[in-house]
Each structure stands twice: as structure tokens, then as C-alpha cells.
């Protein structure tokens, strides 16, 4: 009798355990099925193109396609690296990115600091909303604005200042225009992030500093800016990691693809696009591969630096 109840007592939890395991196996199956759509998506639209980089080593023909065309070794790379374009577009991409990193971080932090001092809620909302407007515009709409400003015949600049500058033919102005437009478009979103970090500071810190006789500048320098350091470091390093990627919208739409300006407006991404529309698949795929490989390298370096500074901000 007692042994019988004992065996029953034992088997009940065992049964429950088995049932639980069975249910868990079923759940794991369900969860796996949920991944199916994105699995297919990533294979087709990301991993297949990765295999497609073989065409960088091929003499691509339409009939041969991606895998049937003949190999031609490193000819595509040779063709690119011996051209003057290689130097120009690499220089442009890197320089624009360096300028962008410095200018966006400084302006975004500055705006966030100023916004943090605004006491009126309504005014704050107005400033933030207006600065976010460019975020909702496409690069095409932004190019309408720059065109209205810089057009030779009807542009605002030439009419307002009585100048006679053909902006769309003279490269000197474009590094400034492009860098400014880049900051202008991103400042709303960028400053929101820093502003949120400032909001997170314990207000007691400021109170204590005030009691100790610290003025506004000292408070900003010793409390606000140090608390933004982490985000700044991460964004700067991530920017450096992406130093080989140009913003296609900025560099294609704003200078309106004008050939005269290529010496200062052409970046790797616009160059690859032109190669694509010109049908030079092999050599431009080589440029794309060069960009991807160097980009991978810089991102890994950047990430390991982030890991040292603030481990919780590292991407991987």
C-alpha cells in the first residue's frame, strides 16, 4: 500500500515534467517557425548578394550572369586602383566623414546644452519641432531648397547679395555647402539624444554645485559635458567605423549629379551608382567590395575601442 502511493507520488511529477518538456519542445518549434520569414529575407536579400561579390573577380556578362561569367582575377581591382578616381573618391569619402563627425557632435551637443537651459516648455517644444523638420524631408526636397538658394539665375544668394556665382559649376563652395546641409538635416534628431541624456542627470548635482558657488559655465563644464561623454565617445567612434560609407542621398541629390563638381562631391557610393548605371558591373563591384572589406575592418576596430571605454555601449 505504502509502496503503491510512493510510486504514484513519484510518477506524478515525472509525468508533469515530461509534459512540460514536451510543451517546451513544441514552443521551441513554434519560436523557430516565427523566425522563418526573416530567415528567408536575410538569405535572399543579404546573404545571396554577399555571395554575389564573386563578380568583383569576374568579367561580368549579362548572358553569363553572376556565376557563369569568366574569372579575370584582380583585373577589376587593378583597373580601379590605377585610376585617379580611386584617390579622389576615397579622399572625399574620408574627409567628408571626418568633418561630419566633428561638426555633428559639436553642434548637436551645443544645441542640447542650450535647449536644456530653456525654461519655457512651449518654447522648447517649438525649437525642437522646427529643428526636426528636415528629418521628415527626403533628400530630394532638401535639394529643392538648396537649388532655390544656389541657382545661378534665380537663386536667393545671387539675388540677395548681388553676386554672380555659378555655384553648380564651381567646386570650391561644395565642401562647405554639403557639410552644412549634413549638419542641418541631422541636428534635430541628434540633439534629442543628448538632451535625453541631460534630462537623466540627477538635479541634486546642479543644486550642490550652485551652493558651492559654481556659475553656469562651470556647471556645464563639470556636470553636463562629462555626463554626455559616453554617448559622444560612442557616436564618434561609430562614425569613424563608418568612415568609408558616404551618404548617397546627400552626395547624389544636393549637388544634383553635376559632372563639374565630381572632384569634390564624388564619394564611393555615388561612384558605385554611376558605375552601375553605366553597366560597368565588374569594376564597380570591385569598388564596392573594397568599401565593404575596409568598412568591416574599421567597424571592428571602432567597436573594440568602444568596448574599452564603455563596455555596455559596444555593439557586439
Amino acid at each position: 500500500m505504502s509502496s503503491l502511493t510512493k510510486s504514484m507520488k513519484q510518477s506524478a511529477p515525472e509525468k508533469a515534467l515530461r509534459a512540460k518538456r514536451g510543451a517546451q519542445r513544441k514552443d521551441i518549434m513554434l519560436l523557430t517557425c516565427m523566425l522563418l520569414p526573416s530567415f528567408i529575407y536575410y538569405i535572399v536579400f543579404h546573404y545571396l548578394p554577399m555571395c554575389g561579390i564573386v563578380i568583383a573577380f569576374k568579367d561580368y556578362t549579362y548572358s553569363g550572369g553572376m556565376f557563369g561569367s569568366d574569372w579575370n582575377g584582380f583585373k577589376n581591382f587593378e583597373y580601379f586602383f590605377t585610376s585617379t578616381d580611386a584617390w579622389v573618391i576615397t579622399r572625399n569619402t574620408i574627409l567628408y566623414n571626418l568633418v561630419a563627425i566633428v561638426s555633428t557632435v559639436t553642434t548637436n551637443v551645443a544645441i542640447a546644452l542650450v535647449l536644456f537651459e530653456v525654461s519655457s516648455r512651449k518654447a522648447l517644444k517649438y525649437y525642437q519641432t522646427t529643428m526636426l523638420l528636415p528629418n521628415f524631408m527626403s533628400w530630394v526636397v532638401v535639394s529643392y531648397i538648396t537649388y532655390a538658394l544656389f541657382d545661378y539665375d534665380y537663386g536667393v544668394i545671387n539675388h540677395m547679395f548681388g553676386t554672380d556665382i555659378n555655384f553648380y559649376a564651381e567646386p570650391v563652395y561644395w565642401p562647405f555647402i554639403l557639410s552644412f546641409v549634413n549638419v542641418w538635416k541631422g541636428i534635430g534628431m541628434g540633439s534629442v539624444m543628448y538632451y535625453a541624456a541631460l534630462m537623466g542627470i540627477d538635479t541634486e548635482l546642479f543644486e550642490a554645485a550652485k551652493i558651492d558657488g559654481a556659475n553656469k559655465w562651470q556647471q556645464i563644464w563639470h556636470i553636463s559635458i562629462p555626463s554626455l561623454k559616453n554617448i559622444m565617445a560612442v557616436l564618434i567612434i561609430m562614425g569613424t567605423g563608418n568612415i568609408f560609407r558616404g551618404d548617397f542621398g546627400l552626395f547624389y541629390q544636393i549637388p544634383m549629379d553635376v559632372g563639374n563638381l565630381y572632384s569634390v562631391t564624388d564619394v564611393i557610393d555615388t561612384y558605385v551608382y554611376r558605375g552601375l548605371s553605366g553597366g560597368e558591373y565588374g569594376s564597380t563591384a570591385a569598388v564596392g567590395l573594397f568599401q565593404s572589406v575596409v568598412g568591416l575592418f574599421t567597424i571592428i576596430c571602432a567597436n573594440s575601442v568602444v568596448k574599452k571605454i564603455s563596455p555596455e555601449s559596444a555593439m557586439f
Binding site: 526573416s38 536579400f45 554575389g52 530653456v118 533628400w139 534628431m189 542621398g249 558591373y281
Partner: protein, 300 residues
């Protein structure tokens, strides 16, 4: 008292500075609008300006007398961006949920599987060849929707949100014998409305402002997205202008009934009609867009 005065003075300075800065963002919009309202004569004299010497609605009349292209553009853009936002957000939630479950064994592998494309990509050319020659997606609506269906970054943000949901829900639902699928649909999705709205709106905005896709893949003018249509209008009018220069003819005028509208002005009227409504609507959802950024501490 003294401190008070200093406070008001610093507030005044700050607000003056910020009003001036916000001008940098408001004035360009006004410039767009007034450029579309400029009279042909005023354009000749004063170019594009914030306050044109004389106004005219001729450009809008000429657009609305032949609105087919704009209507097509709106049709394509609305269909594509709404579909992409709904389908994309659903797929991203489906992906994020298993990755947020602690006992799911493939979590780590799959995280890397979706993360690696963020670090390394085949580039524009192989994608183009696959989309056009192997999948035959060019010149269809699919090309707008499918290649942008799932964004790793957004999946990470959704996953972070799921991880923040109270654990008791899952435990009590499990005890009641609910499967993961029913937990996902009955509890997780309804509780995640904020992040879902954020992701849907971000995708919608991204697709609404998409011109690259049409630039690469679309040849039928009926399938142009609004933004690409705008790009063609800006560039093509430039082309027309250059032609008229070459033949030493002065700026070409388009006859619209009794009134005349310069092609330069029509172009801006197009810009307002095509981009204006969205620019008025999107700022109302501002807080959702900002939220997507400040979710913070996202990890791959």
C-alpha cells in the same frame, strides 16, 4: 532680486539665439512655398525669394489641369509605404520575439545571423543583379517592399522592448497552458503598442521619402514614387532650361489659359503638392520618432 534679473537676461539671450537658429529651419520651408507662388514676371526680376513681389497660382493651376502623374505618384507611395510599414513591423516583431525568450536555444546564433549584414554587405551591384536578373523584381511594387522588409536595427529595438515586459505575464500564461504563439498575439503585441507604433511610423517615413529604389529599379512612370517623380522634375526642368539657353531662346513659358507659369515655378508647386501634406502630418508623430532613438542601451 539681482539673481532674478540675471536669470531673465540669460533666458532672453538663450531664446533669442534659439529663435534665430530655428529660423534656419523654418525659412527654407517658407522659401519652398513662396517659390511655388511666384509670378513669372517676379521670378525674372527677383528670382526665388521669401516674399515674392507678386503672387500667382498659375503653377498650381497648370499642375491640377493635368494631375495624372501626381495621382500615380501618390497611389504608389501610399500603397508601398503602408504595406511596407505593416508587413515590415509584423515580420520584425515575429523575429524579435523568439530572440527575447531566454530559453530559446538558437538565440545567439540567430542574433549573429541578422547582425552580420550590418557589418558587411555585398554592395549595390550584387544586390542589383540578384533583384533584377534572378528575382525579376524590377519595375514592380515588390521592389519597394521586399528588400526593406526587415531592419536589424529595428529588430534590436523591438527585442529590447520585449525584454522589458514583466516576466509574470509569461509565467502565468505558461501555467494556464498557453503556447508561445498565443502569448505573442494575446499579450506581447497588445502590450508593445508604443514600440510597434514607433517602428511602423519609422518604416512609413523611410518608405515615404524613398527615391533610391525607383532610381535604380523603376522604369514605368506610373510606378514612380513621389520623391523620385520630384527628382525627375527638378533635373528635367534643368535640362529644358539648358536647351533653351543653347538655342538662345529666353526662358520657356508654358501657356495655361490666359495666365502663364514659368517651369521653374511649376517645379516648386509640384514639390509642395507632393511633399507638403506629409510634411504637415509627420511632425505630429514627433515623439514616436524620437522614442526610436532614445530606447538606448540596445545591444546586438
Amino acid at each position: 532680486m539681482l539673481k532674478n534679473r540675471a536669470y531673465y537676461r540669460s533666458q532672453a539671450i538663450i531664446n533669442v539665439v534659439m529663435v534665430l537658429i530655428s529660423m534656419l529651419f523654418v525659412l527654407p520651408l517658407i522659401l519652398l512655398i513662396s517659390s511655388s507662388l511666384t509670378d513669372a514676371e517676379a521670378l525674372k526680376d527677383g528670382g526665388y525669394s521669401l516674399i515674392p513681389r507678386s503672387f500667382s497660382l498659375a503653377a498650381y493651376q497648370s499642375i491640377f489641369s493635368n494631375p495624372q502623374q501626381i495621382i500615380d505618384g501618390y497611389k504608389t507611395t501610399i500603397f508601398v509605404s503602408v504595406t511596407a510599414a505593416l508587413a515590415g513591423t509584423f515580420v520584425m516583431c515575429l523575429t524579435a520575439y523568439p530572440l527575447s525568450r531566454s530559453y530559446f536555444p538558437m538565440k545567439k546564433v540567430y542574433n549573429w545571423f541578422i547582425f552580420f549584414p550590418m557589418l558587411f554587405s555585398g554592395g549595390m551591384i550584387p544586390s542589383y543583379i540578384i533583384n533584377t536578373q534572378y528575382l525579376n523584381l524590377d519595375n514592380t511594387y515588390w521592389i519597394y517592399i521586399l528588400p526593406a522588409l526587415c531592419s536589424t536595427w529595428n529588430v534590436i529595438i523591438i527585442k529590447t522592448f520585449f525584454l522589458g515586459l514583466p516576466n509574470e505575464i509569461f509565467e502565468s500564461a505558461k501555467i494556464d497552458g498557453a503556447s508561445e504563439l498565443s502569448i505573442f498575439f494575446r499579450f506581447v503585441l497588445p502590450l508593445s503598442k508604443p514600440v510597434i507604433a514607433t517602428m511602423a511610423l519609422t518604416t512609413l517615413l523611410g518608405k515615404w521619402n524613398d527615391w533610391n529604389t525607383a532610381l535604380l529599379y523603376i522604369r514605368d512612370t506610373e510606378l514612380y514614387s513621389l520623391q523620385y517623380l520630384l527628382q525627375r522634375i527638378l533635373r528635367e526642368a534643368e535640362f529644358i532650361k539648358q536647351m533653351s539657353y543653347n538655342t538662345e531662346i529666353n526662358m520657356g513659358m508654358i501657356d495655361v489659359g490666359s495666365q502663364q507659369a514659368a517651369p521653374e515655378v511649376i517645379r516648386y508647386a509640384m514639390c509642395i503638392v507632393a511633399a507638403g501634406p506629409a510634411l504637415c502630418i509627420f511632425p505630429f508623430f514627433q515623439k514616436y520618432f524620437a522614442k526610436g532613438l532614445t530606447v538606448g542601451s540596445v545591444k546586438g
